[in-house]
Amino acid sequence: MSATLIVGLDGTESGNRALAYAKKLANLIGGCELLVVYVIEWSPYTFQTAEENSQRHKRREEETKMAMERIIDPAVTSLKADGLNARGIVRHGDVAELIDKVAVEEKAEQIIVARSSEGGFVKRVFGTATANLVMHASVPVTVVG
């Protein structure tokens, strides 16, 4: 049975460091699968205009496609180029909650994420996605600095 490692990306430079560390770890463990996850922050309790609602389905498809093309596909390609077994998924929702949920669903051994890229007011009020994940994760989490 091969181990599954979850790599959470946020589309920034720090995400690449998480990816590099995951590569290193996967090579050390050997024979494991890397699942690259990108979560588009979204809440069902936001306020939108009627026009935004009518275009929401279209926008969602576009957001997913763009995230796949710009973040997931390059990451998966680079992992595969290094001879690793990798795939990627894009989800909408709360970042910390969903990465943990995917890890549980996939029976992953651990989650690898980068140090938070949020700052300022948002960080002070809501905390960071990484901190939230570390606090509530169901599997071990490695935070790459």
């Binding site: 588009i40 306020f47 009627a50 935004e52 609602n53 009518s54 279209k58 969602r60 909408h92």
Partner: protein
């Protein structure tokens, strides 16, 4: 924010430098627009508000109340039976996690509410109790409760018969369900009714959804900065609306959509504090509401006057049976149209039963309506109850809140302007959907309507309230004439959908996703 300042700064400079002669010229322009508007729309208003022969009861109000009562009976008081289920749906208990990122029940409800919660709750209620006395509140609550069944019917159909285009966008509303539903049932005239609805919807969007809002927003701003020509406010509003609906400057819409719910909560919160501060009088106020509902307590027209005002203002506030909400709710992502109908029945409850009632209670409790101590009846002059400060409409609500919080009129003025703007954005969409139903979903057709909409903002702000409010009410109620006719023919379809949904809910085929997750985890 910078963009907003860039727009506002020249305008503020213009306001401060407007000369007296320019103001006089502008006033005459206002008067011309007003006179032309009144003469052009008078016949339409008279027809819609014509009383039953031999009575003073407008037939259109009876039309809405009878329809709401029929839907309540036909669906066996669904508004009470499925109230808890509606809350569960809004919480997302039944939402498929795989649909995350799509429009949720909460979002569809919030969007529809931002189109209805606004001036109707603040100015409309003040008009209702100012003319119909506290008793109008009773009839308003009753109309709100009954209206929940109308909302359920139209919003279920809105989702069921919406158009889903290849590019992933959706369009829905009465024009779609009437034409498709009639064809499905083999009934003639569906297309004709759909077009008639669209025409009235465009008029309603330009009237109640636009001119009335611009008019009241101007009244609020003028009340704070001093009197100045309405067309100036009209131009500012038109510019901002244009920037959002034509220019696609989403940040303005986003800011508004975030502030409006906050304003709504602040308004309800302030009302609650006033009610708590006067808790000993709540019993008395409800006594006045019940007594006034059946005796009128000396108001013009007696209890019938209270009833007409209550029903009329409730309908104008929550728009149940009008069909506008069906357009807003049709964007939700659900496999079960009934679920959106069930969620939508919360709308008249929040709008009318909760918010309108609070406004009415605050006006009554703070003693704005003057009572003759000898008779115990209200003092009426010229068909209206004499108020403590001699004002009516928004100013009456403002005075009521001011008696508890002297700073509240400023908050209320900002709230009214934002509510007005948010309602305008909602109605620009409803009108646009009706327009594109008739003229096709092309960029050119959309732009034409959006420009017309912006022009009417200026006209609305410049015209005096009388003709504008009459036309606004008339155009919106005219939508209800066509929509409810369609609903009568299509309600068996809703019943079939509801029965199927309820059977599956009962059998456990439809269940909460949290339960499913729990079960699979246990396995």
């Amino acid at each position: 924010m910078n963009k907003i300042f860039k727009i506002l700064m020249p305008v503020l400079a213009l306001l401060s430098t407007t000369s007296i002669s320019a103001a006089q010229e502008a006033s005459s322009l206002d008067a011309q627009i007003n006179a032309g508007f009144a003469s052009a729309t008078g016949w339409f208003v008279n027809f819609i508000f014509a009383p039953f022969p031999g009575t003073s009861f407008p037939w259109i109000v009876m039309w809405l109340v009878i329809a709401a009562s029929i839907f309540s009976l036909y669906f066996v008081f669904i508004q009470f039976r499925l109230f808890g289920h509606a809350i569960s749906l809004v919480k997302g208990d039944y939402s498929d996690p795989d649909d995350a990122g799509e429009v949720s029940h909460f979002q569809a409800l919030a969007t529809a509410l931002s189109g209805t919660v606004g001036l109707g709750n603040i100015a409309g209620v003040a008009v209702a109790v100012g003319i119909g006395g506290p008793g109008a509140t009773f009839w308003m609550i009753l109309a709100g409760l009954l209206g929940m069944a109308s909302k359920f019917t139209e919003c279920t159909l809105g989702v069921k018969y919406r158009n889903e285009y290849e590019d992933g966008t959706v369009s829905g509303g009465p024009m779609y369900y009437i034409s498709k539903g009639f064809t499905e049932r083999g009934l003639p005239g569906g297309k004709f009714l759909a077009i008639l609805f669209s025409v009235f919807c465009i008029l309603g969007a330009l009237g109640g959804g636009n001119m009335f809002q611009a008019n009241q927003a101007h009244a609020q701003i003028a009340g704070i900065v001093g009197d100045y020509p309405g067309w100036i406010t009209g131009l500012i509003f038109a510019g901002v609306v244009f920037a959002v609906i034509v220019g696609g400057i989403k940040s303005i819409a986003n800011v508004t959509e975030k502030i409006v719910p906050f304003m709504g909560i602040l308004y309800v919160g302030a009302a609650l504090v006033i009610l708590i501060m006067n808790a000993d009088q709540i019993g008395w106020a409800f006594g006045q509401i019940f007594e006034g509902a059946f005796t009128g307590l000396g108001i013009a027209g007696g209890f019938v006057g209270a009833l007409i005002q209550g029903f009329k203002r409730a309908a104008f506030s929550n728009e149940a049976g009008v069909g506008s909400a069906a357009i807003a709710h049709s964007a939700v992502r659900t496999k079960e149209p009934v679920t959106e109908g069930v969620v939508s029945l919360l709308e008249p409850f929040i709008d009318t039963v909760v918010i309108c009632t609070m406004t009415a209670l605050v006006i009554i409790i703070t003693g704005q309506l003057t009572i003759n101590p000898e008779t115990g009846n209200y003092i009426v002059e010229g068909g209206k109850i004499v108020t403590a400060t001699g004002v009516s409409g928004v100013a009456l609500t403002s005075a009521a809140f001011e008696s508890a919080f002297d700073w509240f009129p400023y908050v209320l003025a900002v709230a009214v302007v934002l509510f007005a703007f948010s309602t305008m954005l909602s109605w620009s969409y409803y009108g646009l959907k009706a327009w594109t139903y008739m003229f096709g979903e092309s960029k050119g057709a959309e732009l034409t309507f959006k420009i017309i909409f912006c022009v009417f903002v200026v006209i609305g702000a410049a015209a005096s309230l009388g003709p504008v409010i009459d036309f606004s009410d008339a155009a919106i109620f005219a939508m209800a004439v066509v929509n409810i006719t369609g609903l009568y023919f299509l309600m068996p379809i809703v019943k079939r959908e509801l029965n199927s949904y309820m059977a599956r809910l009962k059998s456990g085929e439809i269940k909460k996703f949290s339960d499913q997750a729990g079960k699979s985890a246990a396995e």
